[in-house]
Symmetry: C2
Subunit: 614 residues, 2 copies
């Protein structure tokens, strides 16, 4: 890759934002001048209106265009204006405001420079146990985030380890400098903290109801906000996957979260508490415990008990970012709690930023299942890293771009988002652009077809989470089982089974409980079915599994053909084609392994006589 | 563990061998005096007879006992005398000589201090990219090795990486010092080398027929033997699992080995060439390629082409140290080649030095299948590490002890070896000692029963190689498949299948080809059988699988009971019991996972109604 800093969807902003820009207002002025010069546009007038906050209006009149906005609304308005012009589209009319106030990225960056589930290289701001970064690259990232309105960046892994503990202690000066680097872009930092940290400071307990613990956290928060006055808050993963938490002290998660919330409240901070709690040491022999039920069981009874500045962050599905899950029932169950929806841009189970997987279509489906008003914030696990193009696959940038657009307006049209991203990034001839957009629109469906079928999760290689391993998680302790045998597959999660479906509001519950109304793509999530079960379209379950896998792989091959036709810039084109080769190998492996697995079990041949290996 | 250095089977040699002992003769004098004092014995006279080399005679007469021997035969004689006396047994009469001249340990120690497939802690002589060791611990190890006659120690991993490359370059001084530390014990060092190393020195090729390459290796060998004049030789893993080798240059393995052999020959060095070559990027869809056939296909045609000082080191089985494999056909096929038999003390697939697995009974079976005369040397992958007791599990020391005994006399009685080890190590009351010996004698059989059945290999967790994963290697690239489906399991390796059996001499081939004569414990190695296949004892295959797994687990529980009855020293007892708890969990997991796996496939219930999970 070139030495030049990657511009992603802002190729027309060729010069770097100078270090001398310290505020969003200054950045707005700079970007507007630079952008208008590059696009050969008359320069609009900027009018600051602090009351507008993140909102902005772009208005045209006799005296030319005026962009009015708050902080950082003015900067958002500048980007909106420039991107619309660059794309040859209309500037949005009227007052523009984000749907969600907190539009967060959770970065799973470790202090040693690695990134947990990172597929774009090493951390952009950690190395060798310290915060350390390339200013120009950080400013470019800030610009990209601001251009789509992402406004909070949690800089360290929710699994807080080693020197990352020091972010709120010895490294506060460095944290303050990093905060300053992002400040011109309206991006506020957040920090993941370790619930048990008082223990390392001789407090003797981390019990949230202990007075010494409360005092320790209060003093710590005071020191942190002295160093970084606009810090957004703390993020906590507690009692999850071997992390410490309130359960150690017989306290509830409300006790734990509220204690920390009290410490950060005087500074206007939020306390984001992840609801990712389940038994990760389940015995596979135990068929009574059903992991998807865990978050609801833990949190629903606590509705109404959380402090005002606590945000409970809930993954979109009840498992863990599988390709197809129903919406987490916890998200319907806590009307008196501020909830954040957690998404994952990092393609942990969705192709490692090798396989194409555009997420806006998925999020749009989500918005149809779960009214966006049910939550007050969104968070996404970041797909960023030190790779020259920031996201490993150049097209994975569409998910970062699309996430900002979705967080600003969750009902935004996925096709419109992808078209705008493609137009800004590549300026392809129209036919090619349409081909790229349609390829991305369909990419999740293709991926879904060639991996585990019909809402069946976890047929993935353990640990690495790329490639098929039909029984990889079958006898493990993670609560992830399909219990496929020679006759049938799937877990009955209806009232006759584990009862999971009853965690939903009645209407949704009924839809899933009934085999007739449960959508095909979740049939095996909610029901255990025999291979000869006949689907609505007349096909047997086993034939549907075979068909999906053959089709998914053929569709991946068609995407590879499409990719060949695109006149992409050399570097992006090469990268995309290289990864597509790997995707094809992956798709073929999934197709054949899953088909063979079920063929060995069922003994049923493909009705269309296609090749299934023995 | 205590600070005191672990004595293993030599508890009566309480003081360390002093650093001032520089030769085996000096060590013999010291050990004899110290041992006789401790055991309150009249001290025999030592008589050096250089012509006897490694041999010795212990003779009694009017003037008292005389130990006569060469170098290091005299030292071997001293240990033999002392151990016999300590055990209260007769000293062996007449001339004692080792069956094999080279009795090697291959240590897979990496320069960074880790050990590949090491289960006893970090390396005893590498740390931070350098050779570094605790002299007292090394001398104790030397004593243990000499006491059972192990005479060659290859100090670095056959996968030569990072600073390990420098052992024959910048680190020669350190290597010489390490050689000096082992020299008093008659243990000569060996070094694993990287076939492609000339490339790093600007030679431009590693082609074994290139004059520059030959010259480079000659000069290198000259320098190495100048530093360590008694170095035993070089060990090479080439063209295997991504290692470089002669195939890169279109040369044969005879070309590669002979070139290196020529370089070490003037110094009396041997060139040990590992025959572990197979396609580790096999497509699981490919049923024509059969990994166990690879070594024979590669090497058998080269018989007679290797130089006199080349030793071809062949693993005992055609796969890779699985619990049950037939003897490698390569070992029968190369009468005009010097062969070394490769064993593995490190319990990679045999329980990680957590589960009990005494190996002498297995080696004895091997000696019955393969006349010991077929090979001229033995090598074993080491089970040593920096743990206080050197072998992780204190009973795993029995495999180190037993390996030396086996290498000295391959037809030695396993029970006698284990009894001697137990008596020397623990001096238990006789009933307890018998219980320990019988437990160890049966330990491999127990392990075999609760893991993959009847010669079916590779149902193990990928990567880690501990615990069950019935399909963990089934769709991977390693050439390791059982192809279990709802009706049958196993690979047909007869003439009607892959033809592997034809690689054996006719008599052995016929035994395996026929279902009637193929032993049960290899039935699924050689044959694909339906679950309803009826074994000689009237049981169906599926019932035999269930029975074995229930029995194996019950027998492991019985071993745990036995262990409770033994009056072991506190540290060893605690360690053994801790590990036994893990073994029981492992045995139960194997039992239930394998039974469930086959029950799901076959749909056949256990005839005796025991619990098989769904």
């Amino acid at each position: 890759m070139s030495e030049k800093i990657y511009r992603a969807w802002l190729p027309f902003l060729d010069a770097d934002v100078p270090e001398t820009c310290k505020t969003p207002a200054e950045a707005a002025e700079y970007e507007l001048e630079a952008g208008c010069a590059a696009l050969k546009l008359p320069e609009p007038r900027l009018e600051a209106d602090p009351a507008m906050g993140e909102g902005y209006v772009v208005s045209g009149g006799d005296g030319g265009t005026v962009i009015t906005g708050g902080e950082p609304g003015l900067l958002y308005g500048v980007y909106a204006f420039l991107m619309a012009k660059a794309a040859g589209e209309d500037v949005p009319a009227g007052l523009q405001r984000p749907f969600y106030g907190l539009r967060m990225l959770n970065c799973w960056d470790n202090a040693d420079g690695t990134i947990e589930r990172g597929y774009s290289g090493r951390s952009l701001w950690f190395e060798g146990g310290r915060l350390a970064w390339d200013g120009a690259r950080i400013r470019q990232l800030g610009r990209l985030l601001a251009s789509v309105g992402v406004n909070v960046l949690c800089v360290n892994n929710v699994n807080v380890r080693a020197e990352a503990e020091l972010l709120i202690e010895d490294y506060l000066d460095e944290l303050a400098r990093l905060a300053a680097a992002f400040r011109p872009f309206g991006v506020r930092l957040m920090v993941s903290i370790d619930f048990s940290r008082p223990l390392a400071h001789g407090v003797g307990t981390a019990d949230p109801l202990d007075e010494g613990v409360r005092r320790w956290w209060k003093q710590r928060a005071d020191a942190v906000w002295r160093a970084v006055p606009d810090l957004a808050g703390f993020l906590v993963k507690a009692d999850s996957e071997h992390r410490p938490g309130p359960f150690t002290y017989g306290r509830s998660h409300a006790d734990g979260a509220n204690m920390l919330a009290e410490a950060v409240a005087p500074h206007g901070g939020v306390l984001v508490w992840r609801a990712f709690v389940y038994n990760c040491q389940q015995d596979w022999r135990d068929t009574a415990t059903d992991r998807p039920m865990a978050a609801y069981d833990t949190y629903a009874p606590l509705d109404g008990q959380f402090a005002d500045n606590v945000i409970l962050q809930v993954k979109h599905g009840p498992f863990d970012f599988q390709v197809r899950e129903p919406v987490s029932p916890t998200l319907y169950a806590m009307p008196r709690t501020r909830l954040a929806l957690e998404l994952q841009l990092a393609q942990e189970y969705t192709g490692h930023q090798i396989d194409l997987y555009a997420m806006n279509p998925m999020w749009r489906e989500l918005a149809e299942e779960l009214p966006p008003e049910k939550v007050c914030a969104v968070a996404a696990v970041s797909n960023l890293g030190r790779d020259a193009n920031y996201t490993g696959h150049p097209f994975a940038a569409a998910n970062l771009y699309g996430y900002g657009r979705y967080a600003w307006q969750p009902r935004v049209s996925p096709r419109e988002v992808l078209r705008r991203w493609a137009r800004l990034t590549y300026a392809l001839p129209e036919g090619q652009q349409d081909a790229l957009v349609e390829m991305l629109m369909g990419s999740r469906g293709v991926y879904e077809k060639y991996i585990a079928p019909l809402g069946l999760c976890w047929m993935v290689c353990p640990g690495v989470h790329y490639g098929p391993s039909p029984c990889g998680y079958e006898y493990d302790a993670w609560g992830t089982y399909h219990r496929a045998n020679r006759d049938a597959v799937g877990i009955d999660r209806t009232a006759k089974g584990t009862g999971y479906a009853a965690q939903y509001p009645a209407q949704i519950r009924d839809k899933y409980e009934s085999l007739e109304t449960c959508p095909d793509n979740l049939k095996l999530f909610f029901h255990r079915l025999r291979y000869d079960y006949v689907m609505a379209d007349g096909r047997t379950l086993i034939q549907r599994i075979y068909d999906d896998h053959f089709e998914g792989c053929a569709e991946a091959e068609a995407m590879a053909q499409t990719l060949q036709t695109l006149s992409l810039p050399a570097e992006d084109g090469e990268e995309a084609r290289l990864r597509m080769e790997k995707q094809l190998a992956n798709a073929r492996q999934w197709r054949d392994v899953v088909n063979t697995f079920f063929h060995r079990l069922s003994g049923v041949d493909d009705a269309r006589g296609r090749k299934i290996y023995d």
